[in-house]
Amino acid sequence: MQDLKAVGKRIPKIDAVDKATGRVEYIQDIKLAGMLHGKILYSKYPHARIVNIDTSKAKQLTGVRAILTGKDIPEIKFGVYKDNRPLKTGKVRSYRDEVAAVAAIDPEIAQEALSLIKVTYEALPGIFDPEAAMKEDAPLVHEEHKTNILKMPWKLHYGDVETAKKETAYMVENRFSTTWVTHCCLGTSGAIAQFDNTNNLTIYTNTQIPSLAQKDFLSALKAMGLRDKRVRVIKPCIGGGFGSKLDTYAYEYLSILLAFHTRKPVKIVFGREEEFFATSTRQPTIMDVAQGCDKNGKLLFRDISMVLDNGAYTSWGATTPSVMMMPITSLYRVPNVRYEAMCVYTNNTYSQAMRGYGNPQATFAIESSMDMLAETSGFDPMELRRINANQAGDVSPQDFQITTCGLDQCIDEVEKRLGKKTPKEKGVGVGFASLIHVGGGARVYKSDGCGTIIKMDDYGKINLFTGATDMGQGADNMVAQIVAEELGLDVADVHVIHSDTDVCPWDVGAHASRTTFVAGNSALGAAKKIKARIFDMASKQLEAPPEILVMANRMVMVKEDPKKRLEIGKLLRKFHFSTNGEMLMAEYFYDPENENLGRDFKGNTSMTYTFGTHGARVKVDEETGKVQILKYVAAHDIGRAINPILLEGQVYGGVMMGIGYALTEQIIHEKGEIMNPNFRDYKILTIKDVVPIEAPVFETFDKDGPYGAKGIGEPGCVPTAPAIANAIYDAIGVRIKDLPITPERVLTAIKAKKKLES
């Protein structure tokens, strides 16, 4: 490998200094002249008919500028299924349903106005259990839909599962479940909308998808009768994403509508409680899993069916099965696979994307089941995994082309670091689980692309306009380091401008761990164009053919004779300030050669796949059922670490989030109402809960990745829960199949086991 100066280095996050000094602006910090403050009135029922809304009193309150109800606004449909509206008319379908919105001169007045709005409801019977909602006589959440079961196509069958079942030597069949958890971004959601005189819209909003949000808002404007307008989406610095901002939300449309009605900028920012109940969760699941292997331990089939609680409206949560298919068909070699998932409307909150996008749920079931299969078949759990591990060159049943694969190494490394299981201490056990995730983009839309524009000034400094969205993960570093490396510059020479649709090129969004790979390749493409131009120029000056030139230390030089060199700034000035002067600018749009999934869900959705294995050593308190993690190892094949410090940050953060998912986090619903909308009772882990984590990485240098890199944003929290569940089983012989693994559940299982034994 060549000697690299910027790539592979522990370079601090570019915006870290501004963040450490409190200088960056989040939506909370932005104030526009004349800005009004918006607040939203939510439903008081999980399911009810809206009989009347009386806003007369609220309208009289001094300082109120606009009050909107469903009747006052045009038909703006949003969400994956277009089944949601910014303000509900006719009926409400969940507690988070928006009923009215107010704009006032300050947040307190807006709040007070909400309390003066009188809504009369007629309660309807609600439905909160997805399996019950599937029954014929269940109350309908959307009458026009005729059934609560969404018409979603999640069904595949590769090979022949029935025949494989007959041939199988060992088989396990189990039901698993996962519940609602939520992103808990520390910076709450918010947006500021502003129209100019001719009704072009500028919206500052917390989003992971500036370009797609722009499209959504354009169609909202159209519905408002504003055709052929411009929408500029600016994403300020955001206090965490984790998938929560992959869709557009009612509050964004409401800020737009209120701004339109008042002709003033309108800001809506959520409080913490609102953030808990009015933003979306990870998709809860009920999963029936069967797997079988032959007598040599080779997996023969996987047969999985799921019921997903969709909640009252449809956002990306309903499409998580498309990603669950990935581990189901392609985690380990498994020739025969059947999968079916049903999403069911209920009067609960609706789900969204969240770090891993279905993969954590599916992997929990698959990897727990793998351990159960290991026990049934008499194989050591790691051995069983090694027998079936994916290998470079494989094509999985879903047509995923595994280009590079470090799964074997990851398994070995985790096993080595956690030690062999014996001698056994009472109540202590180790458990493992692996993962596959897209690591080279994911073609969900027709385009999986990202654009980059590079502009170079007279001093060799770069403005880099990227489509990539940084939300703290370090997208800005990835592109800056790659460009600096390619052009022999310092990272500080590259100023990254992102997340403004007026300035930056298109990008499909910060999802699917795709940014390093796709935006990285895009930046690399633009840098290469610039480089070619510079070599052209330098070649004339140095009287040397471009092929023998290199760039390093802000110079262009002859590779074999580094004394023959030019300072880049000087060269650029020379060409700028001469007749027919020229300056350097380049654009590049990278769209990977991955494929959309076909009707049969086959297709190489990603250019490459990230693999990893996690392992935990736990100690279970058999009297209280409490689980303590003594050591955690998360090994990943990431292609190449562009920036180890940021990479480790993604893994540590992912693992701690995964441990929360496994052990403590849960949104507690009672008949559709969220009972714990605060950090007191929603148990996100604290610094005192940190466990010793080791995060070894394997570099497999993917041929398509920028400098060999693959994505790593999500994997950290994918196999955490099953690794812990498997460790608990190893420790005390009880199998917990429902998340979170609370002390109550562990103790109940211990008691059941004791009862069986006596």
């Binding site: 280095k9 522990r10 370079i11 601090p12 996050k13 915006d15 870290a16 200094v17 501004d18 963040k19 450490a20 000094t21 409190g22 200088r23 960056v24 602006e25 989040y26 909370q28 910090d29 992103h183 808990c184 971004c185 520390l186 910076g187 709450t188 610095c237 955001i238 206090g239 965490g240 994403g241 984790f242 409080g271 913490r272 939300m471 703290g472 993960q473 370090g474 310092d490 990272v491 500080a492 410090i645 940021l646 480790e648 940050g649 540590y652 953060g653 992912g654 693992v655 701690m656 989030m657 605060n678 950090f679 007191r680 996100i684 604290t686 610094i687 005192k688 940190v690 984590i693």
Partner: protein, 171 residues
């Protein structure tokens, strides 16, 4: 209802009129325009609003504004020298990956400062105990602990500074 009070903000004496019901967070952000202090929950549970009053870390979201009368208030804006030199803690957070989205960062750094001002050689145990009220969703805390430990245990010099090379070359 409002009262004139005087206090020191980041070392500068000032007198302001404070309404009785304002929290310190409101005073700082909405009235004085110091936006570095963040609000993550408004109810004492996340630590994003942490500032230091008379040497003690407090949640400014629950601190009555009037209670800072005649006191010393230090916010994140007060840590950086006028010439832009970062406080060692800021520098260490930057270099050790203690910052991702950054929303928790000002609060984290203020809590860490209050701790190190009191016990400069704080152990990992003490660091965890003292930062338990500062929630971070991004980092998993590991690099935050590293950031503080590298100062409490060996002085700033030992922080690995690969990253800073870029900058030094500039100078």
């Amino acid at each position: 209802m409002g009262k004139m009070i005087s206090f020191a903000l980041n070392g500068n004496k000032m007198a302001v009129e404070v309404k009785d019901h304002w929290t310190l967070l409101h005073l700082l952000r909405e009235e004085l325009g110091l936006l570095g202090t963040k609000e993550g929950c408004g109810s004492g549970e996340c630590g994003a609003c942490t500032v230091i009053v008379d040497g003690m870390a407090v949640n400014s979201c629950l601190f009555p504004g009037l209670e800072i009368a005649e006191k010393d208030v230090v916010t994140i804006e007060g840590l950086t020298s006028p010439d832009g030199t970062l406080h060692p803690l800021q520098k260490s957070f930057v270099e050790n990956g203690g910052i991702q989205c950054g929303y928790c960062t000002p609060g984290m750094i203020m809590s860490a400062k209050a701790l190190l001002d009191e016990s400069p050689n704080a152990t990992e145990e003490e660091i965890k105990h003292s930062l338990a009220g500062n929630i971070c969703r991004c980092t998993g805390y590991v690099q935050i602990i590293d950031s503080i430990k590298s100062i409490s245990e060996g002085g700033v010099e030992e922080v690995h500074v690969v990253a800073w090379k870029n900058k030094e070359k500039d100078e």
